[in-house]
């Protein structure tokens, strides 16, 4: 991405500005980092009521099998992800990862089975590369479309279901990771019960032309507040969810990242479609033997936040390096600083005391189970 190219705008840009958002460049887009309420209130409101996020910068991709058989698209995509896509039922979604030949992570994504096609949501900063990657490897079997005419919003929090039930009564029948099509204010939307906050919630793909109208109406509900990227980051960090580019990237494998759960049995050793994805040799070996390091939750013991990039040591003098923090900040719901990072496997047990170097000091941090807040997904 060229830093000097003009920033792109999502279909909701004017709405953000009208709500007084502070806009910042993010992944090539001019995005709201916070609204006048501020990160703290936005974060807490999402956990207590409902927060509305514009995530239209993310890539929405349709993968349509040329044969007309969804199984062919699923098997094609399985060549790029260590995920059981074939076993994903119609109307269901699951988390996935694109891996490279070294077993490292090219991007993380959501994969939905929409009956006659697969619907993917990928990270904004990776979407062009992901699309080219898929075009190259799946272009023979699938017709690929990177949608540029749809917005994507997320409504997250304990009141999200009630708010949307006023627009579509059947929303309550959806379970976590279900995907359905429904009309909201007569606009055909694709709705998934998922999100990036640790809360129950929904992501809604809306035709761009109607996005502002639908979003405005949802925002009119007294329980709903617009939420910027600042609170999005603190919410996902408390929920223990990885941010691509910080916590996972082309130097980390799924096993190092503790994402084994994203690789279903069928793709593991002994599974019916074992391996067959880029870097399978490395990843399956790590699966069996463990990796040399692992992503862990870290709870700073003091009040000072410990940010991404801070080196980690086994000792308070900074003599024995054991890893580094990849994401860190203050957790408004946890009410203390929260962080995650990679540490050598000898130091990954919960309760292990480590020290993070912050401004020349060695601050005590404790290896802690993720997430820092209890998820409220409706399984």
């Amino acid at each position: 991405m060229n830093e000097h190219s003009p920033l792109k705008q999502t279909p909701l840009h004017a709405l953000h500005v009208s709500h007084g958002a502070r806009m910042v460049p993010f992944a090539g887009y001019d995005m709201p980092v916070q609204y006048p309420a501020g990160v703290m209130k936005e974060h807490l409101h999402t956990r207590s009521a409902a927060g509305l996020f514009d995530v239209s910068h993310m890539g929405q991709v349709i993968l349509r099998p040329k044969s007309g058989r969804i199984e062919d698209a699923a098997l094609a995509l399985e060549k790029l992800v260590p995920v059981d896509v074939l076993g994903l039922a119609e109307g269901r979604q699951r988390y996935g990862l694109f891996t490279d030949g070294n077993g490292n992570i090219l991007d993380d994504l959501m994969i939905a089975n929409r009956g006659d096609h697969l619907f993917l949501v990928v990270n904004a900063s990776c979407k062009e590369a992901d699309f080219a990657h898929m075009q190259k490897h799946l272009g023979e079997t699938c017709e690929l479309t990177l949608l540029d005419d749809r917005a994507l919003i997320a409504l997250q929090g304990p009141r999200a279901e009630c708010v949307l039930a006023e627009l579509w009564a059947d929303i309550a029948t959806m379970r976590f990771m279900d995907v359905a099509e429904a009309a909201l204010h007569d606009v055909p939307c694709i709705i998934s019960r998922s999100g990036y906050t640790g809360e129950d919630g929904f992501e809604i793909s809306i035709p761009a032309a109607s996005a502002e109208d639908v979003t405005c109406r949802i925002l009119e509900h007294p329980d709903v507040m617009p939420i910027g990227l600042g609170a999005r980051d603190s919410l996902r960090l408390e929920a223990g969810l990885c941010l691509y580019g910080n916590d996972i990237d082309t130097t980390t494998t799924p096993v190092e990242a503790g994402l084994e759960w994203a690789m279903q049995k069928a793709r593991r050793a002994g599974g019916s479609r074992e391996g067959g994805f880029p870097g399978a040799d490395v990843i399956l070996r790590q699966f069996a033997d463990g990796a040399g390091r692992r992503r862990v939750g870290l709870k700073p013991e003091g009040k000072a936040p410990v940010r991404g990039g801070a080196p980690l040591f086994a000792d308070a003098e900074g003599k024995v390096p054991v890893g580094a923090v990849t994401s860190g900040g203050f957790g408004p719901s946890a009410d203390h600083p929260v962080a995650m990072g990679y540490v050598d496997k000898a130091h990954t047990a919960n309760g292990t005391q480590l020290f993070a170097e912050v401004r020349g000091k060695y601050l005590a941090v404790t290896v802690s189970a993720l997430p820092f807040v209890t998820p409220t997904y409706k399984r």
Binding site: V39, M40, S234, K303, P305, F330
Partner: protein
Amino acid sequence: MLKFTDEHEWLKIEGDVATVGITAHAAEQLGDLVFVELPEAGTALDKGATAATVESVKAASDVYCPLDGEIVESNQAIVDDPALVNSDPQGAGWFFKLKLSDPSAVNALLDEAAYKELIA
């Protein structure tokens, strides 16, 4: 006498001691503060040296020493409750008191009108 810096600090000058804090504009830009680290009394600092660190939910920022001097007092109240900086930046949210090495150096700082023009 109230003076300002282009680093968005205010200084209330009384004799050779300046009470220093960050401006309302700076506090608003930083957002909700969750952590403040202040220099200890007795610390000698040069102009431009890092005197304090503030952290919002999202990021850490340094607060620079506006003039040469020695810290004579720090405001423990904002360490205990960083939100005080957001709610009353130019009052109860002060950071530290600095005994100036050269009290005449304040003349080179911005007055309120000049600062307002800077952030306009």
